[in-house]
Amino acid sequence: MKEILADIENWQQAGKQVALATVVEVYGSAPRPLGAKLAVSEDGAMVGSVSGGCVESATLQEALEVLSSGKPRLVSYGIADETAWEVGLACGGTIEVFIEPLDW
């Protein structure tokens, strides 16, 4: 969390909405541990990571939708997922990511 705070504060000071994505479950091997975070600004800038780069762009899309709906959501990525071809994790693990508007 520490390494993404400065960017989040800058975005907020510029009046931008921010979404926060957090790894909330890890099955098997995964590149980033429980609690790993990616923050997304309303104009699509990113800081931090929830994987080794495999699912960041998919998470970015979800985050933008979360910002427009204002509702948090839980998303699962991994080889067992039907979207595996698009956004599967190279390491073969599965992760669950919680994406929320940073409005608290």
Binding site: M1, L5, V24, P33, L34, G35, P72, F98, L102, W104
Partner: protein, 255 residues
């Protein structure tokens, strides 16, 4: 709004051990609470203070118990809590402060001690005012090498429960003021090199300086676990082993 985030930012910037609870399911989805190990107006049990609300007192109580455990273990955790026949998923995210080993005395033992400490993920700071000891050549592997009087250098730092201080100079003029300063702060470990006899003399000096017996008892001396070793590497190993033992048996802070 923003009050919780500001509290989280403040706790993390101060590098304080804390937990951030997020509800992942049910009607309370997205609700969050910061749990800190401090006394505050909104107490949830011994030494816990919270900011934010999960919207349900029973849920908050369960979350605080899990948060205390996760802080103790220093690891994030995913848990479920049953509230009024509903099972709710929670993420307990933990901010773990950076652990720092402050070595007073750029002596031979300090060289392998820095190596071992770094291997265990500690930030390493070596302090010595004596230029022939505190050379970049000898301590290129340390995160910080500070050439000044130990007490002056310590005053510039934050000594909290994640800071471990060892004095190794063999020179009481350097060690004793550093110890007095460290004892006045909640450092997680304080150890002083020297035989039992040296330590007995040191205790007398500390008492004279007005340090209480309770504070003096915090000093690990003779320093290190008794591994029967004599060489600098073996002594360094015994010191780091003792620090690991202390941090793993850590008691509730402020209890």
């Amino acid at each position: 709004m923003a009050e919780l985030f500001n509290a989280v930012v403040q706790a993390i910037r101060q590098d304080e051990l804390c937990a951030i609870v997020t509800v992942l399911s049910g009607d309370e989805i997205g609700r969050k609470m910061l749990v800190r190990r401090r006394r505050g107006p909104d107490e949830r049990g011994p030494n816990l203070a919270t900011v934010g609300s999960l919207g349900n007192a029973a849920l908050e109580h369960g979350a605080a118990v899990h948060a205390a455990e996760a802080m103790e273990a220093r690891r994030a955790n995913r848990v479920s809590v049953t509230v009024e026949d509903r099972e709710l998923d929670l993420l307990i995210d933990v901010h773990v402060p950076q652990e720092t080993l402050v070595i007073v005395g750029a002596v031979h033992i300090a060289i392998p001690l820095v190596t071992f400490a770094r291997e265990l993920g500690l930030h390493t700071v070596v302090i010595d005012a004596r230029p022939i000891f505190a050379t970049q050549d000898r301590f290129d592997h340390a995160d910080e090498l500070i050439r000044s009087w130990p007490e002056d250098a310590l005053r510039e730092m934050t000594l909290n429960e994640s800071t471990y201080v060892v004095t190794l100079t063999h020179d009481e003029k350097l060690d004793t003021p550093a110890l007095i300063y460290a004892l006045d702060h909640p450092a997680g470990y304080i150890g002083a090199l020297g035989s039992k006899r040296t330590h007995a003399k040191r205790v007398a000096v500390l008492r004279e300086a007005g340090v209480s017996d309770e504070q003096i008892d915090r000093i690990h001396a003779p320093i290190g676990l008794d591994l029967g070793g004599r060489g600098p590497e073996e002594i360094a190993l015994s010191i780091i082993a003792e620090i690991v033992q202390v941090r793993n048996n850590r008691k509730e802070v402020g209890a």
